[in-house]
Amino acid sequence: MLKSRTFVKKTRKGGVVKVVQEHYLRDDVWCGVIGCSSCNTTQAVLDPQCLNVQSNLCPKSHFIIPDTNVVCKQIDILEENCIKHAIFLQTVLQEVKHLSASTYRRIRDAIANPEKKFYVFSNEHHKKTYIERGKDESPNDRNDRAIRVAAKWYQKHMQDNCFQTDIVLLTNDVENKEKAVQDNLTTYTMYEYVMALTDSPELMDKLSGDFEDDEKNQIVFAEYLPLSKIQSAIKAGRLIQGTFQSSRDNYKEGFVRVHGEEQDIFIKDLDSINRAIQDDVVAVEMLPKQEWTKPSGLVCRDVENNENDNAETAGLENTAREEKLENYIADALPSGKVVGIIKRNWRPYCGILLPNPNPNARRFLFRAADRRIPRIRILTRQSSNLLGQRIIVSVDAWQRKRRYPEGHFVRRLGPIGDKETESEVLLIEHNVPYQQFSQAVLNDLPTLPWEITDDDAKQREDLRHLTICSIDPPGCTDIDDALHLTALENGNYEVGVHIADVSHFIRPGTAIDIEAANRGTTVYLAEKRIDMVPELLSSNLCSLRSNVDRFAFSCIWELSPDADVIAARFTKSIIKSQAAFTYAEAQLIIDDKQRNDDIAISLRSLNVLAQALNKKRLDQGALSLASPEIRFQVDSETHDPLELVKKELRETNSLVEEFMLLANITVAERIYEIFPQCALLRRHPSPPLSNFDILLKSAAVKNIQLQVDSAKMLSTSLAQADLQDNPYFNTLLRILVTRCMMQAVYFCSGTLAYQDYCHYGLATPIYTHFTSPIRRYSDIIVHRLLAISIGADKTYPDLMKKDKVQELCNHLNFRHKMAQYAQRSSVSLYAQLFFRNRVTKEEGYILFVRKNAIQVLIPKYGIENTIFLRSADGSELPFIHDEQNLSLTYQDITLQVFDRVLVEIAVEHNEIQGSKIRLQLLEPQVCSFSV
């Protein structure tokens, strides 16, 4: 059964230590070919009869064996549907894993897809295919040899078992190919193989190119230091490791975020950025102090110059000259330059192809939708099909002599400006999993008609007799909370919050659970929502609709008339909601003095209690912040936006909110008490005071002093801040305060000290999310924890592991952030569609003042946009920027922060970039500038 071989490897851990590990060679590693008589494969996937691709080179049926380089570079092609029946060697996968975690994940996903018929052959543990490294052989050569030996074994194995199937080794390495040919192996480069595929010529574009070195190009960028040198230099402190963040405003500037440091390192120009792309992990060398600069304050977009090398270098020189002008800067930021890349974090980017004036050109520039990504050069023969389309492109390399990185085409999404396409773009760009639920997930759903069994009823408290109702926004189908109130004899109230019991349907470890965990949250776009759980659950079985029996997780308090919590308990229950109201309906019932039925009375009492709760919260220093939120009324047929509606706030909103907060806090306390190490909580760190700088400066302009030392002081001083002539001023301030805040995040209780649990915005020492399990995965976890704490459920290991929970938290935080961004992008996309055919005049307020632009918010539509202060012919106007007063002055016109302006909203249409909203300043009128 076991054969053993030991091998020796050296690892670095302080010094060099010799590690001896066992390495068992087996004779039960099977080939994975269907119908193989000598192997005992249980999961054979490779079909020897299958002729999967039409190829000039390999007309017979064949299996391909890609080598490491091919997997890493050509993953896009391997993911294509027409590439099937491939054998992945363990050697290859191990190398891929080492080189790129993301590629490894992708190839593993592809292998897991039964459609692809990919098979992993554990050649390193196979008796006949294991080889030992020769004396003078480098590890790379050894691995190449291992790949050849395995391919050879397969070849022989196929012959021995009378299969007519060829084994084709794919390698781009010339030497390896030669040796393979000597071994009588059928070997092609990826290029040859793909070229010969007759039925899918579009694959060509996806080939990651080998790049010819153009001699004529002079060197544009400095060379990177080798990785070994970087590592030792980082250890020695000469270099700093960090993540590169390109500036959103100016493509020539960026920051490097250093882990654990508050201050980012400023990277001032393209030379210093040195080919780093957004999110790359880079090594930075600090510049001497006298060379430190600060962001220019300019808003700069890359100009669309094509293959013109002169222009490129000229552009670089320009920036250099600009920098020299400002030789001494008072409040300079620590600046540095990128000298090496530790890890690229490239991903496929959405964007558009820029037209090339030369009609026969094959090289094109690609512009990503994310403006922090530089232009990417790609090679394509189907440019005519791609122009005007949203496409996805992957980056392959960025050479020193190139102004732009090289990439290849991956996929076409659809025409620019098309609603569906644009929605898809923003989903992809924000990494939102939006595919249909897989069959495996759907199989986990309960079968209809779903009925409550006696067993269920036994384990749950029957609360169907209570007068429970739900209050939600209009059109809401995923109702995850409902309320009830009963007056008790002692004058107190029994108040219950009933939350949809999603964790009853989503059991840990099932396909549906894994999928929900991955999605993390439901994403609400302007016209649709991307569900976290399949619709059957979200809109039916879990949704607490009226007049049907539903499972709920109830949190029931006894509250005094002053809304003090006397007692709280939790129970799994069965409820029957009496009514599902919208906020407006509920408000009407409260206000309608004629109505005196059960529901009306309890709603009114709830309202009173909620106001008491709200007051208590505000007294403790909870902030009430503002953000301009708008919604679209969408045509149900065409999905075109019909009308912009601002979210209205009613008492009932706050009613529901207060009880949800109370439920969340009560649950947080409970699960923390039971699981001090692994409770999933939510915290909102108090922002560092430096975050308020801009706010304070802006407020000071209007002679308002804000106290930001604590949440309480902030909320009091905010309440007092008002300007006579500007009724919107307070809201503006609150909007700005919102931007000073930190992100609230999920975390695992075991990873932080108790005092760090606090939620700044809500001014509560502990908080979690419990009330929306239909749309948030965090709530499902909290439900599970709570269920265990009352003995209604069992634990599973990952739930009890601190690091696993924290890992999940990090993932959920990421998904939530992305969902928010996607939501915002979706709103602005619809705003654009809304204004497409109209020109509107509206008043707005200046939020920020830049050197050459102002940022204006239009409260009515929640639109925020930058207005470049250019004259009609495009030249910049000589505005004088007063940094102290945050104003721009030109002649007799002064634009200051918080000023009211009148703007014209229109959609500017541009062939290349698609359309975007454009604001024009109407008032105050700037001559030759405003229309």
């Binding site: 059964m1 076991l2 053993s4 030991t6 230590v17 010799k18 590690v19 001896v20 590990q21 066992e22 390495h23 068992y24 060679l25 087996r26 590693v29 363990q90 593993r108 292998i111 897991a112 992993v120 554990s122 390193e124 543990h125 470890g509 069992k794 634990t795 599973y796 290991p797 009890m800 592991k801 690091d803 696993k804």
Partner: protein
């Protein structure tokens, strides 16, 4: 790092419920009353028995049973980085104490009142499952010394990785501290559990699985140990009969 690959192989090529290569030999030291050398993969242990003999220390003489003196040590060269103290550190002392109790439960101690049995086990190379190897080696050495015991004591480790149980955990797998590590010792015929030691946290729901896997590992090891002891006796018998 993947401890179990999606193909179902562990880092060293074993399947989850396979033990490592197990080699053992009895009677390797001529001057000891009993001795055994054992290899569990790359974990190598040498055990020697002295006694039963007159208890040296008067205080340790027990009038109704034998006194067991257990010494666990690790050779300075046994780990990747050289150890400073081969024995006498807190861990070794704790382990020795634990082992003493384990063997007290299997040796028929009441047969040898007032005497003492010294068991010395040295780990020559440590590659995971040191305590298991120590227990197994000591058992074999006791067999060799002809010390009467209720049964073999067979030991094996087990762990839970991504809800899959693995047995006979090696060093590279042990290094994942977050995974629970169960060291189990049983009397194989009665499946009586003599030692059940757990590192890290494991939820009670999974205890049964991991115990089951551990017991299977112990029994696999028992098979080999039993075979080896029988071989040893047979060899001796062959020689005896020849003369």
């Amino acid at each position: 790092m993947e401890i179990i690959s999606p193909e179902g192989l562990r880092i060293d090529g074993r399947r989850p419920e396979e033990i490592r290569r197990f080699n053992c030999r009895l009677g390797v030291l001529s001057r000891a009353d009993g001795s055994a050398y054992l290899e569990q993969g790359n974990t190598k242990a040498l055990a020697s028995i002295n006694g039963p003999h007159q208890a040296g220390d008067k205080a340790k003489i027990k009038h109704d049973r034998v006194h067991i003196n257990f010494q666990y040590s690790m050779a300075t060269f046994s780990t990747n980085e050289r150890r400073n103290r081969p024995k006498g550190d807190k861990r070794s002392i704790d382990i020795s104490q634990l082992m003493r109790e384990i063997f007290q439960s299997a040796i028929l101690t009441d047969l040898y009142p007032k005497s003492q049995i010294d068991i010395h086990v040295q780990i020559l190379q440590a590659d995971g499952g040191n305590y298991s190897a120590c227990i197994n080696a000591a058992t074999l050495a006791l067999m060799d010394a002809g010390v009467p015991m209720k049964d073999f004591i067979c030991s094996c480790t087990a762990s839970l990785v991504d809800s899959k149980t693995i047995i006979d955990v090696n060093n590279s797998e042990e290094l994942h501290f977050s995974n629970p590590l169960l060291t189990l010792a049983i009397l194989p015929t009665s499946e009586e559990i003599i030692l059940c030691q757990m590192k890290s946290r494991l939820h009670a729901d999974h205890l049964e699985d991991i115990l089951k896997a551990g017991i299977k590992g112990c029994k696999d090891i028992y098979e080999i140990m039993h075979r080896e002891v029988l071989n040893h006796v047979r060899e001796a018998a062959a020689v005896m009969n020849a003369t």
